[in-house]
Amino acid sequence: MPWRRVRLVERRSQTPSARSLVFAAPGWPGHLPGQHVDVRLTADDGYRAVRSYSLAAPADDESIELGVQTVPGGEVSPYLADDLPLGADVEVRGPLGNWFVWRTEQPEPVLLVAGGSGVVPLAAMIRAHHRTQSRSTFQLLYSVRTPDDVWYRDHLADGDPRHDVRIVYTREGPPAGARAPGRVGRSDLDGPASRLQPASPAYVCGPTGFVEAVGDLLTDMGRDPATIRTERFG
């Protein structure tokens, strides 16, 4: 699979530390929602760093959108998020990954569970589903620390009657919040899980600890482990 040069054409803030980056990618072969790319940066002295980033949007006209969360002290993410100039190139390899994908032919209702930046590939799935005539419903349970940490508010409030988005806060919620801040637990998953079919997929993405805790909750609740697809962001 070749490395392609793509050019940064747009940068948008999602949260104080997270950015959407849009790259012009002529000849992009398309991709499935959930897939990622590897991004390679080469320094003047030849030093190379490679990191994976999820595609945030469904396949579009020769451009790709990535979601980048700045990792404090990280080698690549702070640079990509805030320093790579508009008009500059990076190399990408992809699209990658056939496991953590949603395909438009899948008929079952879907559960998406996102922790922080894990929302990026799940947003691609929601945005792809929005474009279809599918009758399936999508439920997103989105866990963030505070209201400032929510990505893609516009895409998540798309007005699509098939989409149900619940945001839960782990540290600090909005003033009149009905749910006390805290980690995702059984009580957050019971309702959404009750609206799934046995074969419904659950896609769980975010920090490793979050993904494993949620995966354990879902299997404890009786979801078939074979229907749970996970992607750990470390």
Binding site: H36, G74, E75, N98, W99, T208, R229, R232, G234
Partner: protein, 90 residues
Amino acid sequence: MADGTVHLDGNCLAGPLSEILAVEPTTAWWRCPECTRSGPLAGLHVYGPEPGLTVRCPGCSYIALRLVREGEHIWLTVGGGSGAFRFSTA
């Protein structure tokens, strides 16, 4: 790869393995010879990238695969033993 010590999963192997495998690998099925847990490569736990990528069974940590990049070579060891294949990517 993550900069810290927390593991990732086999989804992140899609790019590196694409350099030596022609078939998309993350959906490959694997059964642990140690604890018999089975599942996709995407679900295995991945540690690294220094000194290379070590891919382990999520149930018992048995080593499924090791992948090390050395310049234009990629060393692949299947299982936890010795005897790596050295692929030349140049």
